[in-house]
């Protein structure tokens, strides 16, 4: 329990640190949302000043930060100037879409990477392993941006997949099953892009982790006892190699959140990415801060999740944590 508590405290500390950091960045900003209003001769300087006062942009930094933390506690996360509404609800809708995308992609990528990585490690140095190594190396050098654009061009030319948005026109009138199918077809392209971008790294790590374990004496002994190879690989070897892979799970969730930012913008998926980009271009301060903070929450949450899993999977860590 104390182990968990400490990890949790650490995560909270991290989040506070990130929020302070982004606030510090924001004071570097030479302009803000109301600067363009100030240039407009039709708006009196007093109006701009009063707007600034209303949103408390004229207060010193610590006061603004305290106010903001207070509003985070109320689930509002500051106020969006461009949307004229609290940031919280705005972000949650988008975050849900991003999560839908990244969680699906993470699951799929792992479902593919595990057998591939194990296969590669089991045939270390032989043809399947070498072919897979070459494939992952090739995929590794193709960046997200290139991949997403390439897929989009293919989709546009073939017409197999819808190329933007999350739902078709007339979505509201569809039956629940068709609604699900509609979202699924719209999701295909971005999910494929994310899976392909995450896959090579996962396969390589799984291969390396398993290759290390496969040499262990206990596995050779087990093989000598005539335990079937498949069971050996998936039950015994995987269990022994699980620790670094569980850490990798949390890590991969974080990288996918980062990667989805770009894929969302390219494929116009209504997630955090496009919202953040708009907010940057409009200088919508609190939306940017909220978006960055939320992405950190995903990452920290992913790491926390993998800590939990580690605790569950590895008795050594359990006893260590209990002994403290």
């Amino acid at each position: 329990m104390r182990y968990l508590l400490r990890r949790m405290l650490h995560a909270v500390f991290l989040l506070f640190g990130v929020s302070i950091l982004t606030f510090l960045f924001s004071t570097l900003a030479p302009g803000n949302y109301f600067d363009e209003m100030r240039l407009n001769p039709q708006i009196a300087p007093e109006t701009v000043a009063s707007l600034r006062a209303q949103y408390q942009l004229d207060r010193p930094l610590p006061v603004r930060y305290a106010r903001w933390v207070n509003s985070v506690a109320h689930g509002q996360m500051g106020f969006s100037f461009a949307y004229n509404s609290p940031v919280g609800p705005l972000l949650w809708v988008r975050a849900r879409n991003t999560l839908l995308l990244t969680l699906t992609a993470t699951l799929l990528a792992w479902a593919l990477a595990l057998p591939l990585g194990i296969w590669s490690a089991a045939s270390l140095g032989r043809l399947p392993d070498r072919a897979l190594s070459w494939t992952t190396a090739t995929l590794l050098v193709i960046p997200d941006l290139v991949l997403a654009l390439g897929l989009l061009i293919m989709a546009v030319r073939s017409g197999w997949f819808p190329t933007g948005g999350m739902v078709s026109v007339g979505f509201e009138s569809l039956s629940p099953l068709n609604k699900l199918r509609d979202i699924a077809t719209h999701m295909t392209l971005p999910v494929v892009a994310l899976v392909i971008s995450a896959l090579p790294m996962l396969v390589r790590h799984i291969r390396a982790a398993l290759a290390e374990v496969l040499d262990a004496p206990f596995l050779r002994a087990a093989a000598g006892h005539g335990i079937p190879r498949r069971r050996l690989l998936y039950r015994y070897a995987l269990r022994a190699a699980a620790n670094p892979l569980i850490s990798l799970l949390g890590f991969s969730l974080g990288t996918l959140v980062s990667g989805s930012l770009l894929v969302e913008v390219v494929m116009s998926w209504p997630g955090l990415g496009p919202l953040l980009l708009e907010a940057i271009l409009a200088r919508d301060l609190y939306v940017v801060i909220g978006g960055v903070l939320l992405s950190t929450i995903f990452l920290v949450g992913g790491n926390f999740l993998s800590d939990l899993l580690l605790l569950w999977a590895d008795p050594r860590i359990r006893t260590e944590a209990g002994a403290e």
């Binding site: 291969r207 850490s247 390219v266 980009l277 940017v288």
Partner: protein, 351 residues
């Protein structure tokens, strides 16, 4: 000696690739900003050696093209006007490596323009723009990575060598930077800097922003090396002989970090090139008309371009050989530093 071979091979490949980009003026037939409003979105011109009468030509040639009547993006070849390709021709003036005034080009034509990779909305030569764009993107990547490594080794050495509260504090800050998904961090930094700036300012901005984002990982690695080297016998002996801190760092400790730093450089440069591309693609980096690999791709955000003009995607493919060479170099360096390490277990393994 055999272990060195892949290293030299990748280094030579990188040298050639960067050489081509550095001498963009020579390899590019035209000025990247020169417009030709008569040929917007011209598809890549087809190279011929056999003409329509079936005669073989020793010198490759093109057929002149013009817009089809009443169309704005459909071109047709003129069967009776050939544009022979000439090598080492005089063309638009440029500065080789930014210094030598020169006007010699690898190829070109005397009666008309050759757009080997087609042209963009303003009829600017795509090949020339890709080559010149590489100068911007690669330079941004190299400078950004340099800045990051400088910051990283500065912080890492301070933390590792001084220890105590400085170490504690610096590593906590590094953890903060690692906790942020890097693309979001990049965005957050960029968000609070001016938007409308001149191309040169934008370029410097991109370098500074990307450079300040990535320092945490190299800093941690350098700190680890410094911590372990600091306690080695030869360093203790040197200290016992009265060596000063500066001398110890310069003579004994920093040289030990070169292997980590060079591997990190090979990993970071492509990442930073990509960061520049991402920012410029989204309109937050180097603006038009200056070409960069990122803003060349930005055209593809328009649906019509995506559907009809596939050659606008070519800049994306040019970066693949560069990334391949850098990955190869990183692997070779890692193998060179730790020959017994299992491949695939790289420095970016989760902590």
């Amino acid at each position: 000696m055999t272990r060195r071979r892949p290293l030299t091979r990748w280094l030579i490949a990188l040298l050639i690739l960067h050489g081509v980009i550095a001498c963009a003026g020579f390899f590019a037939p035209y000025d990247p900003l020169e417009q030709d409003r008569q040929r917007p979105y011209l598809p890549p011109m087809r190279i011929h050696v056999v003409d329509k009468q079936g005669h073989f030509h020793f010198r490759p040639f093109f057929y002149a093209v013009h817009l089809r009547e009443g169309s704005f993006d459909q071109f047709e070849e003129e069967a009776n006007t050939t544009v022979p390709m000439r090598f080492f021709v005089r063309g638009p003036r440029y500065h080789l490596l930014g210094l030598l005034p020169c006007s010699l080009h690898l190829f070109g034509a005397e009666n008309g323009r050759i757009n080997l990779l087609g042209s963009d909305a303003y009829g600017r030569d795509q090949l020339s723009r890709i080559l010149y764009g590489g100068q911007v993107s690669l330079l941004a990547g190299l400078l950004g990575a340099g800045l990051t490594l400088l910051l990283g080794s500065l912080v890492g050495t301070t933390a590792g060598y001084c220890g105590g509260w400085r170490d504690e504090f610096l590593m906590r800050v590094a953890e903060l930077f690692l906790a942020l998904p890097w693309l979001y961090l990049l965005f957050a930094l960029r968000a609070f800097l001016p938007l409308a700036v001149s191309p040169l300012e934008a370029f410097l901005l991109v370098v500074v922003v990307t450079g300040t984002v990535g320092w945490a990982r190299p800093a941690r690695l350098v700190r680890g090396v410094v911590l372990s080297v600091k306690e080695r016998d030869f360093v203790r002996a040197a200290r016992g002989f009265g060596a000063s801190n500066v001398y110890l760092l310069r003579r004994h400790i920093l040289p030990e970090t070169t292997s980590v730093l060079s591997t990190q450089a090979a990993i970071l440069v492509p990442q930073f090139v990509l960061a520049e591309m991402t920012l410029s693609f989204l309109g937050l980096g180097v603006p038009e008309p200056v070409p960069s690999w990122g803003n060349l791709l930005a055209n593809l955000q328009q649906y019509s371009v995506l559907v009809s003009y596939w050659w606008m995607y070519l800049p994306a493919l040019t970066i693949v050989p560069f990334f391949l060479a850098y990955l190869g170099l990183a692997n070779a360096l890692q193998e060179y530093a730790e020959p017994y390490k299992i491949e695939g277990r790289s420095d970016d393994s989760p902590t």
